[in-house]
């Protein structure tokens, strides 16, 4: 992609969603940043700004360990990393206290949480 669009400043994999601040800082200093290596997914420090006040997404597992022949997700999102029960429960409780009515649990391979 960088060969085709050299103007792109930052290419980041999905595991770096909560590190965008650090990557932007590096880009502002004049670098072209490529961050695609697998890494541990940490909990967010900042709460997400949600599009809706009533229904919310909560990620419970990240990545996929299956290797379906047609799918590129295991190669891009990486191996499964489940979030800890405390983190998920804490987040849902926080959402409830903010008045959310519907919480959707998301994951690429959601039925393998905790494996």
């Amino acid at each position: 992609m960088l060969r085709r669009f050299p103007e792109v400043d930052v290419v980041m994999g999905p595991q770096y969603a909560n590190r965008i601040g650090d990557l932007l800082e590096s880009a502002l200093n004049g670098n072209q940043v490529v961050a695609t290596d697998p890494s541990y997914q940490s909990e967010d420090e900042m709460p997400a700004i949600r599009a809706s006040d009533v229904s919310a997404w909560v990620n419970v597992i990240y990545g996929c360990n299956e290797r379906c022949t047609y799918c590129v997700v295991p190669f891009t999102r990486g191996v499964e990393q489940s979030r800890t029960l405390d983190a998920i429960v804490g987040e849902v409780q926080q959402l409830v206290s903010h008045g959310y009515r519907e919480v959707t649990l998301l994951g690429q391979n959601i039925d393998s949480w905790g494996r």
């Binding site: 992609m1 060969r3 085709r4 669009f5 103007e7 792109v8 400043d9 930052v10 290419v11 980041m12 994999g13 999905p14 770096y16 969603a17 909560n18 590190r19 965008i20 990557l23 932007l24 590096s26 880009a27 502002l28 200093n29 004049g30 670098n31 072209q32 940043v33 490529v34 961050a35 695609t36 290596d37 697998p38 890494s39 541990y40 940490s42 967010d44 900042m46 709460p47 997400a48 700004i49 997404w57 909560v58 990620n59 990545g63 360990n65 290797r67 047609y70 590129v72 997700v73 190669f75 891009t76 999102r77 990486g78 191996v79 499964e80 800890t84 405390d86 983190a87 998301l106 690429q108």
Partner: protein
């Protein structure tokens, strides 16, 4: 004929270029109602690893977040484990009630983030004389756990008789890896720094493509950016930071990104001060990272 037609609609064949670099195709063999697909040759890695602990090297761990409860006997530590695993009480409440450690008791046992440098330093310290917090035994135990796992470890008591020991019920809460992206310094012919832009003028535009997971991640990124001081806009022409949250599950989706980046790349070439961020599942970079021969995009 009708059988073949219905079968064809059931088996949606995706002659995806992603597979073409392994020189394979799906074939239909047989006729009538016996349709067989021969499996394509999928690129495989030697020793495919399935656990994140096997893939990320230990040296990449920057800090760990842990919490623990200190008690005076092993029996009590085992009881702590039962209480927590049966969820009769939350970790924080249990720590507040019975933990002997005065530093963390009021925080529900939370020891916070400890960097790996600090862990190494505390391991070298002389035991029993060290007043370092938290204790090295606790740190070493937590370091070897998986996220969310618990462990029971003993250490020499810090107060009281010299040969008595304390027991700790430790849980690893979170792990942070070091951020080590590949950097390439830009040629500064018409480069302008956004850092010079006044802080009231940071505007970003985010485009989300793909599934709900991408929408959820977009929301998380929006939270981070708001904290950094960026304001959001729906008008992509006026933004000086443009983020594409992409999906490349199908070839068409992958090419969608290119059509979106085009106009912004043009703005940048014309000298406007625009930063472009592409995030998500783009197979090109991964293909290069896996160092397999890939067709030239």
């Amino acid at each position: 004929m009708i059988r073949i037609l219905t079968a064809l609609t059931l088996f949606q064949v995706n002659l995806n270029p992603i597979h073409s670099f392994s020189h394979s195709r799906f074939w239909f063999i047989g006729r009538g109602h016996g349709l067989y697909l021969s499996a394509p040759v999928v690129p495989t890695l030697e020793n495919v690893k399935y656990r994140i602990d096997d893939i990320v090297p230990e040296s990449a761990i920057e800090a760990i977040k842990l919490r623990y409860i200190s008690v005076s006997t092993q029996q009590m530590a085992l009881e702590c484990r039962d209480v927590i695993s049966q969820q009769r009480m939350s970790f924080q409440d249990l720590a507040r009630n019975i933990s002997l450690c005065e530093y963390t008791r009021d925080r529900g046992g939370d020891a916070g983030w400890i960097t790996t440098d600090a862990i190494e330093k505390s391991s070298d310290a002389v035991p029993q004389k060290s007043s370092s917090f938290p204790l090295p035994e606790i740190l070493n135990a937590a370091y070897n756990l998986k996220k969310g796992e618990t462990s029971i470890v003993s250490s020499p008591a810090r107060s009281g008789a010299h040969d008595s020991s304390e027991w700790h019920f430790v849980q690893l809460m979170d792990v942070q890896s070091t951020l080590s992206p590949m950097l390439k310094k830009r040629k500064l012919d018409n480069y302008q720094s956004l850092a010079g832009e006044s802080s009231t003028n940071l505007i970003y535009f985010m485009e989300t493509m793909g599934c709900q997971m991408n929408s959820a991640d977009s929301e998380r990124m929006a939270g981070q950016l708001a904290d950094l001081g960026y304001a959001r806009t729906e008008d992509s022409g006026s933004a000086n930071l443009v983020i594409f949250n992409t999906c490349s599950i199908r070839d068409h989706a992958e090419h969608k990104v290119y059509s979106h980046i085009g106009p912004h790349a043009l703005r940048k070439k014309k000298g406007e001060n625009v930063k472009i961020v592409v995030r998500g599942l783009s197979y090109d970079e991964q293909a290069i990272a896996l160092s397999m021969s890939c067709r030239d995009q």
